[in-house]
Amino acid sequence: MGALELSAQIQAGKIGAVETVAKYIRIAKNSRLNTFLAIPEERVLARAKEVQDKIDAGITLSPLAGVPVAVKDNISTEGTETTCASRMLEGYVPVFNATVIDKLEQAGMVVIGKVNMDEFAMGGSSETGYFGAVRNPWDATRVAGGSSGGSAAAVAAMEAPMALGSDTGGSIRQPCAFCGVTGIKPTYGSVSRYGLIAYASSMDQIGVIGTDINDCAALLEIISGPDTRDSTCVTDAPFAFGKENAAKIKIGLPRNYFNDSIDPEIIRAIFMAVKVFEDAGAVVEEFQMPLVDYIVPAYYALSSAEASSNLARFDGLKYGHRATEAKSLSDVYTLSRSQGFGMEVKRRIILGSFVLSSGYYDAYYRKALEIRGMIKEAYNQLFARYDVILAPVAPTTAYKLGENITDPMKMYMADVYTASVNLAGLPAVALPCGFDAQGLPIGMQLIGDAFSEPLLVAAARKYQACTDYHTRKPGVPNL
């Protein structure tokens, strides 16, 4: 049962909000996937009761009222520990809610817990967190993808009907692909970042994960919209998606993404999806994606630079980990940070400090900004020709836990299909589009021009109306 249908039943009085939440808490607590980092059970149940009372009082909340939602642990929740899966923030309890959390609550949704991720959202496998790796629901020896691995795995394993994640270089889309669920990385500036603990501020964007595009679209309607607390949230109004299908759209297919560095089974799945769209009336045309070799270097130069600055505030003085043995101020800084951050976070801080440092700024940081300008311009030209670009999400399906963790370059290169979307601030939808020979999900993404979410949602809806990949579940107990 999808989230919209679940809410409809709760609002029709067929199921209770409290019993629904209690059931998900039970499942989540018994998870073998290391998805949840915090489940404040009493608060959650009390919250579900409040929602039930409102529903009983006849108050109209939203089409997702009563639905439990798992929240990535880099989104601030007042009164509930928010750690970014880092020792640095172990025990940190925010004194304010992220704007999206306020919006979820206004819509009558119930945050059931905080979910695991790569430390500070840096990683593509949800293995870099201090509290251990998230496991893939389809094969627990494999990664869930990342950095929103806990969000995607929780939805895939039906530990939560819906989840919030964040996407800086592919962190919603790639775990969705690895876990076989649907997700939307919205246009930069359409969802408030207030309360999202920053990794790379000019690319971070909160997005949604669910079992199908309709659930995702409904949740995006709730969390999107302007916010006086985020200057970069420039949208005028929340999204309001219609019910229309997008049949006669023009789709661009980046020919040069399909080479020997991508799993042939993924190529096959994508071309099958092309066929689905063509059969539904779309026109698909191949093109040469420019600048592909520059995407990953530019993305890592810029995101690491911003991260090095964003994470400098974790100094052991105001919140988070403080090395107990530190005596001097400089010891508090260096020991707290060296103990509090894991290796991947340190690597990126060091890299970011390097590209911004005197003597290297022009060759690395400024150069990356120029390349970013070129990428944005390239997308502008592409969207003059196409409504949507159909692309793979990742070059592989979910790999084994530990397989790539010691090879950062290999991990970074795997962001090649996703990161350009963040550099340009564009929206993209990740959809399940098949399974490989090992039964692991394959995902694809539909990329649109800025604020073209209604079109992307319509295209995704069309695709899911013609396929059933999104309905398949891993072998875990059904609800």
Binding site: V95, T228, T232, L317, Y319, S330, I350, G373
Partner: protein, 96 residues
């Protein structure tokens, strides 16, 4: 690009981090590989390209100069590892 110890030490200082010997070797290797990949960016001509530091093209997002409600001090200090009832406490910065 060859990453020497001096550079790693400099970056540690900038970043307020300190690496163990083992970590330092990992970082040197990784940073070298990553920077080699990045050096690749130098090959592209960007003379006439506009830098893009932000994907949003909007300008002039302001707030008015109007006071908000005061925030409870206890909540500001709540997560501090060392504090008193009014302030955060750090080791002395004078004379060190």
């Amino acid at each position: 690009m060859q990453i020497d110890n001096d550079l790693v030490t400099y970056l540690e200082t900038l970043s307020n981090l300190t690496f163990t010997g083992e970590e330092r070797e990992i970082v040197k290797g990784d940073l070298g590989n990553i920077l080699n990949a990045m050096t690749h960016m130098g090959q592209i001509e960007t003379q006439r390209v506009q830098e893009l530091s932000h994907p949003v093209g909007h300008v002039n997002v302001f707030r008015e100069d109007e006071p908000g409600l005061p925030f409870d001090r206890e909540r500001i200090l709540q997560n501090a590892p060392r504090r008193n009832s009014e302030m955060f406490i750090a080791p002395g910065t004078v004379g060190s």
